[in-house]
Amino acid sequence: MIRKIFHFILQQNIIILFLSLFIVFGIFKGDLFLNGINLHNIARQISFDIPLALALTTVLIVGGIDLSIGSVLSMSAALTMGIQPTGTYFAVLIALLFGILIGFLNGILITKGKVVPFITTLGTMTLVKGIMLTYTKQLSIAGKDESFTFWGDGSIGVVPTPIIVVLIVALILYIVLKYTKFGRNLYAIGGNPESAYIAGIDVEKNKVFAFMISGFLAALSGVLLASRLNSSTTQLGLDSTNWAIAAAIMGGASMAGGRGKVFGTVIGVASLGILINGMNLIGVFTYYQIGIRALILIIVVAVDAVTATRIRENLQLQAYGKRD
């Protein structure tokens, strides 16, 4: 029985949620929901959230959290648009490097400054936001290179380009997390830092890398959004962080660290995307949607905490030599 619970918890049933949302909206709003244009829109919409949720998944695996991803997103979008006159892809490169740099800063402050990830990334969030507001002078920046919109706004066949890009990135991240020592070490660090340390893993270095990946993915999201809108605004990424936290935890990551799955997170984002789309189709007012999103975050975080406690208790039960 205990094993079954444990299995159930480890094998997050996010897919069931995904399918049931799909079916519910399919039945009640079938004509609007299940048509090609709408599904195309959902796919495009979630492709900007997936990198953010993956960023959080990566840091949650090492037992951290990154609140700065929203700010990084908006700054990298601003950089992509702002430097575009110098060279479209040079600008993209700078934007991505900026994300990696902030990730590095987060990692260093957390490992060397001995500050908990919450606080550190809250600080960098404010800092990056300040930099962004200064850089943009609180104005929107319009794109100059029309061809660049292909990455965010274009399609290959019927499939939106950005979803292809992020799925390729997700696949790479999946391979890194599942099939490389580096990836497994991240899980080890989050699961039991002490054990990772005595197994000879450089805990601090790996943590810094995890935050750099997070910064990179957040910046990628910003680049794609800039491409989609062909402009950057100061409002980008404002509430994305909460959303990404909810998606990552729904996908199997935990605040307790040591767990998280690329596939689960992608499905988590997709489920939330369908939910938002469905609410729009039904005609739920924006203000209520904000509240519903907040409730989802609260519920997800609370369930995660209760689950983590239960797992801990089950592990304790195991310790009493019950071999069922």
Binding site: R184, S195, A199, G200
Partner: protein
Amino acid sequence: MSESSPLLWMKGITKVFPGVRALYQVDFQLEEGEVRALVGENGAGKSTLIKILSGVYQPTEGEIFLNGKKTVIDHPSDARKMGIAPVHQEVNLEPYLSVAENIFLDRQPTNRFGLIDYKKMEVDASFWLDQMGISINPGMPLGMVSIAEKQMVAIAQAVSLDAKIIVFDEPTSSLTQKEAENLFTVIRKLREKKIGIIYISHRLEEIFRICTTLTVMRDGQVTGNEKIENVTTEDIIRMMVGRELKDMFHRKRCYVGDPVLEIKGLSVKGILNDIDLVLHKGEILGLSGLVGSGRTELARAIFGDLPYQKGEILLNGEKINVHHPSESIQNGIALIPEDRKEIGLVLKQSVMKNISVTVLKKFLKFGFVDEKKERKFASEYIRQLAIKTPSPDQEAQFLSGGNQQRIVIAKWLATNPKVLIIDEPTRGIDVGAKSEIHELLDQLACKGMAILMISSELPEILTMSDRVAVMYQGRICEIVYRKDFSEEVIVSFATGQKIRPLQKDVVVC
């Protein structure tokens, strides 16, 4: 590198922690194919020595030579590269990763693309698990296997490292007899492969069976290096405690009075099973059993920290219902927990605040705490229990283990308890301070306090207790009376080799 240089030579190792000198000028040698027992009481410095060897701590002074070559071990990964493999305790494993990954953490086999080859890893893991004589699915998450299996996984991890030196730290503490036999076979095989083995254990009979040499430590120093055939159990104990057994603290026998605390059919799902226990006035009841047998949980349940589903607790014949430690305090039940630093004390608060926390109500004046009264009260306890502190305002973290334990005792004596539960009263405490704590417990029992003492140390259980309740897998499997006291009897019950039907709990004293 000369022919005669030993495999390992730790020379003149001293380790100083703030306020404590854990090791002083320790010399330790190990040859190829040697199984060297490292014995000593808790706090003698064995673990510190091993942590220095495995790169977790750096020595304050001293040098380490491997095969005659001077070496600095900066990090656990260095130790591993040099072929030093400590067997970790099961808490130092990864609960969410598979058994196989735990064995091969950070050295998983890879295919030609540099990606982890899970199939090969599980096959390799099965090989090592077979060697240990256990059959578990290597793909299963570690969190799902039993504690003994975890212990075997930890051993498999160390053995699979292809190391020159393997350190076993109390490897049999959670193993059954059969599993322990498997382990001994493995150790013999390792010995034939010329691997040097350090074997730490409290169980002397094991040491006589599988070790070839012996090093005894006491108070951070080496007190003896012998060939195993040249020593007797008495010799070892003398070297460990520094005096003859008859010099150790012996309790004054005391009158045992009426029942104070009665526990009837207490059950906590999956942890405690139908516990019946009676604790009498003026009695010290020892509670023995393996780690994980439910001893600490029984204490927590009585103290109101662990909700129980069935059974009742009677205090002086009246049923009490405790849901929170604050209610236990009102009822006169006190618990001195095993983990003094994390649970017993607030390390960063002053000695005074630690002592007075349970009785702050006494010092209220118009709703405010009167610090003068509080200080006077705390000073009184500091004097009574001879707590060595420069002032009542010193932070508890700067005091030695023995003095910290006295603070915790003071904090609970202040509440005037009828029942005192004390979990591992002398863990991590110097030998001298140990017998002082024992004496204190004896005095308290003589004054009529009912004491439930949990301990892993058999000598402590045997010298201090009036009766011993032995727990096994969440049950009390036997109550042993003073006339029947022996290490063998208690160990055989604690390891589940002997299970007798429960007798009615009567006192003969």
